[in-house]
């Protein structure tokens, strides 16, 4: 049936093909709804594999270096879990389908659209959001560069751009304009701050390679 992954410790074995996803979804739907709402993980009657949900399940996330325990439905995105359940509202929801980048977080060193990432999938990973970037009143060099160059207007896309720039700078401490374009092309700003974001990203100094 659906759950082919024999070793739950090795999530990379999960077959992410669309066909298999549909099978998984089918398996979930066979679980009685009442049980799903009442309980957390429910055993699939045929395979014995653990299936989470559809009701709230406890999860543990590592966000900005702190352990965060949440009870959420397994279908909840990382973005919604943090915004709606943990009041970590720094990262924003713009398109909710992995295009605009306002939700950009850094997960295990790589940028990710948190609106298109399930919270339950990123347990055990290091999640960084814009909320945890500044050290008290001292801004991260990328944040400071954005302020200095006026690389923001309404500011709603800014947290995503800041996180994408942090990931870029940690990879390329002195990025070329071409690297900035490649690194930030997954983010959209409607106010039109791109010119100054480019200035900011190419002016950042003092960020160690991540």
């Amino acid at each position: 049936m659906a759950q082919k992954n024999k070793d739950p410790e090795k999530p990379e074995q999960i077959d992410r093909s669309r066909r298999n996803f549909l099978k998984t979804a089918g398996a979930v739907s066979t679980v009685p709804l009442v049980a799903g709402i009442a309980g957390a993980a429910v055993a699939d009657a045929q395979t014995g594999a653990a299936i989470a949900g559809p009701g709230d399940v406890p999860i543990q996330l590592m966000v900005n270096g702190k352990r965060l325990n949440l009870n959420i439905e397994p279908r909840m995105t990382l973005l919604n879990a943090l915004r709606n359940k943990a009041d970590l509202t720094g990262n924003k929801r713009g398109c909710d389908r992995g295009v605009c980048g306002a939700c950009t977080m850094i997960i295990d060193g790589r940028t990710a659209y948190s609106c298109s990432t399930l919270a339950i999938e990123v347990q055990g990973k290091q999640i960084r959001t814009v909320d945890g970037l500044a050290n008290g009143a001292t801004l991260h060099p990328v944040q400071q560069a954005f302020c200095d160059r006026d690389a923001l207007m309404c500011g709603f896309c800014t947290p995503g751009f800041v996180m994408a720039t942090v990931a870029l700078i940690e990879k390329h401490p002195n990025p070329t304009p071409a690297q900035v374009k490649a690194g930030l092309d997954g983010n959209i700003c409607r106010c039109g701050t791109f010119t100054r974001i480019m200035e900011a990203a190419t002016s950042v100094k003092g960020v160690a390679r991540g």
């Binding site: 909840m76 509202t89 398109c95 389908r97 923001l152 207007m153 709603f156 959209i188 409607r190 701050t193």
Partner: protein, 737 residues
């Protein structure tokens, strides 16, 4: 970047400055104004600490979701909420579109609100919304201007599918065409685009008894309060609207919309705070758009390059029952002209003002025509435009800007229409001009100075991203001779003095006089307290560099702190409001663009844009420039990428998202040079506003540059590759007359 020079004497203002405006005139040598001050809320925005309305989480808060019509035109015959009410977590449900047989039961566009639910989690609210059973009688619809105007079109709007406007006429059209050596007759058009604010429309509503607090993502806190009061039928005094931070509006957020009223009602029914923010699809369908614009134009030019006649029939759609007007012809002087406009209604969401409403459309339709006419008389486009401008004045200074801009841009390197070099990449230059009103209207401010030296400036305006909070502090600091950091600006709350909505580039010009006067009056009161201590009369005192002292004698005085100690327990508290004489209306600007066009793929790459732009007295040079950058990039989107596409058969929007509704990214951004005009003449005009003018004409200059590169004219926006290829093919086949 170089400052542009602007000769020419100022025109007399329509109404003279008031006594206060004379008394508190802008300083001749400003210390803070016109400098580059970093936006004060930058650190809060880059760190995520800034709480946008979308970020407000209240204790016990639940989530609202609207049920919307999937049909572009239908009658709602029944709404059944019972199953939705029983769904997990649901706390409230309501019918918004009452079913029946009356016109009020009709939905006239896909996405029109019909019902709503609220549940404990957002996911539960989405589930429950799916369980609302709505029964529709589907009615015939029209999805395009052509369908709506067709002779056999179904009559879908009461009073007709179209509404013809009055004819605007001037001069003698027949005589004008007689004088013409060349006549161009073509149809030009622009498309519908949506605002795509990064923060969607919505609010958080919380009731306490009969009092409502609403955190709205709005461009007008006071306007929102009024709309909520009208819609909910409660006194405005019972409503507080707060917008500390909002994620873009571009004209679409001057109204709380159905979503605001629905949110308030859900919160009332659930007796819990409700958050209701729209998703991206709802944003595209139901929060406004820029109307389309079409014009069939016949225009004449004399052999020596003077425009003689313009005869235009124009139309456009602002959606279901909304207007679609725009200025035409734009800027250039046709002594004999006639224009008649028709609003065309289609079954789509209604338009709302969008950054310089009407102007980008009128500008494109005219500017493309101008290049076609210039070619007929074999004149350089800049020279041709200069020859046909209205009389120069401080708010109509295009002639000088064209000359300065052309020089800085290297316009002399422009080749005639059609890049003669071999190879598939063709290079071209384009030019365009624009205007905008802006200027001040009613706005109020309140200044408080306390005995500890603190200064608070409160004004019930809001920051839509332009940097309003920062200029409130700058204007106050300039007046009081303090550093910007010494002023606490408070905005975005109906608890503060009434200000209008941020639309029409009026915010800076409305609040600046009010702040200047409020702060000036407060300083006068402080002078009255300081004067006896110094043994002088108050009218010899000045405030600068954090001190109050006798004018011309910096040592005879005291520090700001010491002066404020004289205030005592009752703070100095003064009011100011907008008065004539400290702001003006009317800006002008020109833009030059260089593009590369790949004639094998039809892809346009904008290489650089140069603009000469005035805005009267510059308040914050840094954020003023940001507005110009943003305007240009917005217009580049209009020219090359975005397009609201309605399926012609089903009337459904096929791209209600951000992956197929295209917007520029980092790689699409050209080099942008801004020549902000800062001259004594402009400074003397006071504050005007710069949010809208820069976004008017970039699309036109891009289109003209594409024409210059390819030798083919694309007469409709957007400049999508297939249209460019088609125009090139048509040109090869002999072109159009």
């Amino acid at each position: 970047m170089a400052n542009a020079q602007q000769p020419g004497a100022p025109q007399p203002a329509p109404t003279g400055p008031t006594a206060n405006a004379k008394k508190y005139a802008w300083p001749e040598k400003p210390v803070v104004l016109s400098t580059r001050v970093k936006r004060l809320d930058g650190p809060d925005k880059v760190s995520g600490r800034a709480k946008y309305s979308f970020d407000i989480n209240r204790p016990g808060m639940i989530f609202g979701k609207i049920v919307r019509s999937p049909h572009p035109h239908a009658r709602v015959t029944a709404v059944d909420l019972s199953e939705a009410r029983r769904a997990p977590g649901v706390k409230a449900a309501l019918v918004w579109k009452e079913p029946g047989t009356e016109a009020a039961s009709e939905v006239r566009y896909q996405g029109e609100p019909v019902a709503a639910v609220a549940a404990e989690t957002e996911e539960q609210a989405i589930d429950a919304a799916r369980l609302v059973k709505v029964t529709y009688d589907v009615l015939p619809h029209v999805a395009s201007e052509a369908q709506s105007m067709a002779s056999d079109a179904p009559l879908v709007f009461q009073g007709g599918n179209t509404r013809k406007g009055a004819t605007q006429e001037m001069g003698d059209l027949e005589e004008g065409f007689k004088q013409a050596a060349h006549i161009v007759e073509q149809t030009y058009s622009t498309h519908v685009i949506t605002h795509v604010c990064m923060e969607s429309h919505g609010c958080v509503c919380e009731w306490e008894g009969d009092k409502l607090t609403a955190w709205v993502s709005t461009q007008g806190v006071h306007a929102s309060r009024q709309q909520l009061a009208d819609g909910l039928k409660i006194p405005q005094a019972n409503i507080r609207v707060i917008t500390q931070y909002m994620g873009g509006g571009f004209g679409s957020k001057t109204n709380v919309g159905a979503e605001g009223l629905i949110c308030a009602r859900l919160a009332q029914q659930a007796t819990a705070p409700v958050k209701l923010f729209l998703d991206r699809k709802e944003e595209h369908l139901d929060t406004g758009n820029r109307p389309s614009a079409f014009a069939k134009i016949r225009a004449g030019v004399s052999a020596d390059g003077k425009l003689t006649a313009f005869d235009g029939q124009s139309w456009g759609t602002g959606g279901a029952g909304a207007v679609s007007g725009f200025p035409l012809p734009y800027i250039y002087q046709f002594p004999n002209r006639r224009r008649v406009h028709t609003d065309v209604f289609v079954n789509a969401g209604q338009q709302r003002p969008m950054r310089a409403p009407g102007h980008p459309q009128g500008c494109f339709l005219t500017e493309i025509l101008m290049d076609e006419l210039a070619d007929r008389v074999r004149m350089d486009p800049v020279e041709f435009r200069i020859k046909n401008l209205p009389e120069a004045s401080p708010n109509a200074a295009w002639g000088d800007y064209f000359r300065q801009g052309a020089k800085a841009f290297g316009w002399d390197k422009r080749h005639p229409t059609g890049d003669p070099t071999p190879g598939p990449i063709k290079n071209g230059f384009g030019v365009s001009a624009h205007q905008w009103g802006g200027g001040g209207r009613a706005g109020r401010a309140h200044c408080e100075i306390t005995s500890d030296g603190g200064v608070v400036m409160r004004t019930g305006t809001q920051d839509i991203g332009t940097g309003t909070r920062t200029i409130v502090a700058m204007l106050t600091a300039e007046t009081l001779g303090l550093p910007v950091s010494a002023v606490k600006p408070e905005i975005g709350d109906t608890m503060y003095p009434v200000c209008g909505a941020s639309g029409g580039s009026t915010t800076a010009a409305s609040i600046s006089p009010a702040i200047r006067i409020a702060a000036g009056k407060a300083l006068d009161q402080l002078f009255e307290k300081v004067a006896p201590q110094l043994g002088v009369s108050a009218d010899v005192l000045v405030a600068d560099t954090g001190r109050i002292h006798v004018k011309g004698n910096a040592s005879k005085g005291m520090t700001w702190k010491d002066a404020c100690k004289l205030i005592g327990t009752e703070p100095i508290s003064t009011d100011g409001e907008w008065e004539a004489g400290l702001s003006s209306t009317g800006t002008s600007g020109v833009q030059f663009t260089e593009v590369d066009v790949d004639i094998e793929t039809g892809i346009v790459k904008v290489k650089r844009v140069l603009t000469v732009q005035d805005c009267g007295l510059i308040v914050d040079r840094l954020t003023a420039e940001s507005q110009v950058y943003g305007g240009i990039i917005g217009s580049l989107n209009f020219a090359l990428f975005e397009d609201r596409i309605l399926d012609r058969v089903t009337g459904q929007m096929v791209n209600p998202n951000m992956e197929s509704y295209l917007l520029a990214g980092m790689s699409d951004i050209p080099k942008i040079d801004i020549m902000l005009v800062d001259t004594p003449v402009q400074r003397s005009r006071g504050v005007i506003g710069i949010g809208e003018p820069p976004t008017v004409s970039t699309a036109s200059s891009i289109a003209n540059a594409v024409r210059n590169a390819t030798g083919a004219t694309v007469r409709s926006l957007p400049l999508h590759p297939h249209k460019i290829l088609a125009a090139i093919e048509e040109q090869k086949a002999g072109g159009t007359k």
